[in-house]
Each structure stands twice: as structure tokens, then as C-alpha cells.
């Protein structure tokens, strides 16, 4: 079953793709969701809490590396490899709803 949630962005680390104050639609599933490199995802990070980043790499064990689109973003090394269990869903709509 699918879950769709509306979220509001705070911060500029995904600029210019997604900007501060933008809204995004996040899709998640109750079963194991399939993620790919370049997906924009919401992650429940143990230190930085509810963050939005792009998947830049996926390890063999499924862990993902996250980074922002902006050069101002925290780098992926700072964020650290995250298990997919911490991912809260994939951003499916962002640009059309913020015009």
C-alpha cells in the first residue's frame, strides 16, 4: 500500500533543485521500497533528524550515501552511510507544485 505525504523544506542544501520554503510530495510504501542512485529521499538521520538529500551511491549491503545538490550542503562523509531502513520515502513531485 502507498503512503503520500506533503513536506515543507527548510534550508538550501538541495538548491537549485528544491529550495528553502518549497513543498514536496513524498511517496513511501509499507513494503520494502526500491531506491536508486539519484533518487531524492527523506531520511530519519540519528544526528541531523529529518533530512532531504539525493542518493549518490548504494553499497552492496543496501546502505546509501546521501548528498545535497548545492555546494553548500553537508558532504556525504559528514552525513555517513545510512541503512535504507532510515529512509522515509522518495520525493516524487517538487517543481510543479512550487510555481
Amino acid at each position: 500500500m502507498l503512503r503520500i505525504k506533503l513536506k515543507k523544506i527548510v534550508g538550501d542544501s538541495m538548491a537549485p533543485t528544491i529550495n528553502d520554503d518549497d513543498y514536496v510530495i513524498v511517496l513511501s510504501t509499507y513494503y520494502r521500497q526500491r531506491y536508486r542512485v539519484n533518487d531524492i529521499v527523506v531520511c530519519d538521520h540519528p544526528e541531523y533528524q529529518h533530512i532531504i538529500k539525493r542518493i549518490s551511491n548504494i553499497r552492496d549491503n543496501g546502505d546509501v550515501s546521501l548528498s545535497g545538490d548545492s555546494i553548500k550542503s553537508m558532504d556525504s562523509k559528514t552525513i555517513g552511510w545510512q541503512p535504507q531502513s532510515r529512509l522515509q520515502g522518495k520525493v516524487i513531485i517538487f517543481n510543479r507544485i512550487n510555481k
Partner: protein
């Protein structure tokens, strides 16, 4: 139009926020700038009080006094700004769990910093340094860096918490 509708939904029901964190430069936090600024505040207070002790002030003294007051103001604000950045950008929940008095400590630093701007009371300057040293010790402890206390090698020659690197 869609955005306008979403804004209304947000205002009415509250939309959960997600954070797109930025750090420039990444991970460079150091309370030493706040400590040096606090030492400077005490030094300026001492110099102001030296002038204040004179029976009469000539034009040079008055010019010097104006400059010292101005620099005291600037450096007290610098203490507040430096601490605010570390507290707001570096400290997250794990660090607050480790040092649950951090919010209260930062608030005390803000209040004491303001008091140093308003007065030329050395005790207030000493209190500011004490609080900033406490904050510094907490900060380094969250990074698992040991600290030691030593007298700074310049006036006002007071105890400062330094990281053991």
C-alpha cells in the same frame, strides 16, 4: 495556484518540515574565538578602569576611552555570536543529551555578554570567561577531545580551557 493551496493547507494543518542542512565550512567549529573575545572584554574593562582612575581626562584620554568602550562592545557581541553559532549549528540532540544544561549555559552567556556591554565591572567579565570556558569544555568533550586549563600568556593572564591536541 497549487503553491497557494499548499500554503493554506500548511497554515491550517501544519506540514511536517524536512531539513536541507547546509554547513559552510563543514564541521569547522571552535570556541577559541569566543574565549579570546571574552579575554579581550576583560582587558578592555581593565584599561577603561585605568583611565577612570585618573583625576582628570585630557583629549587623548577621552579619545582612548571612546575607542575602548567601542571595542568592549564589539568583543562582547563577538562572544555571543560565536557561542550562538556553535550552539545553533553544531549542537544537536546527541550533544544536548550528553550536556543537558547547554541551553541554560548559553542563555547565561548571552545575559552576561550583555551585562559586559552595559557595565565596566570586572566581575562580569570574569563571569563571562568562566561560562565560556565551561561551554568550551563541554564542546570538546562532545568531540571526545580532552581539555586542560592554563593561564593565557598575555594580559589579562587568566585561566583558559584548551583542547589537548
Amino acid at each position: 495556484m497549487i503553491r497557494s493551496l499548499l500554503s493554506k493547507i500548511d497554515k491550517r494543518m501544519g506540514v511536517k518540515k524536512v531539513y536541507a542542512h547546509c554547513d559552510i565550512p563543514c564541521k569547522i567549529y571552535d570556541p577559541s574565538a569566543a574565549q579570546i573575545a571574552a579575554l579581550s572584554v576583560i582587558r578592555f574593562i581593565d584599561l577603561i578602569n585605568e583611565i577612570n582612575a585618573k583625576e582628570s581626562l585630557n583629549a587623548n584620554d577621552q579619545a582612548q576611552l571612546v575607542r575602548l568602550v567601542r571595542e568592549k562592545e564589539i568583543h562582547a557581541k563577538k562572544v555571543k555570536d560565536e557561542i550562538t553559532v556553535i550552539w545553533g549549528d553544531y549542537f544537536k540532540q546527541p550533544q544536548f543529551d550528553q550536556f543537558p544544561n547547554t541551553h541554560s549555559l548559553v542563555h547565561s552567556i548571552m545575559l552576561t555578554g550583555s551585562a559586559c556591554k552595559q557595565h565596566i565591572d570586572r566581575e562580569k567579565g570574569l563571569k563571562l570567561l568562566e561560562l565560556v570556558n565551561e561551554f568550551s569544555a563541554s564542546f570538546w568533550a562532545t568531540k571526545k577531545v580532552e581539555t586542560f586549563t592554563a593561564t593565557c600568556p598575555y594580559p589579562p593572564s587568566l585561566k583558559v580551557v584548551y583542547p589537548t591536541l
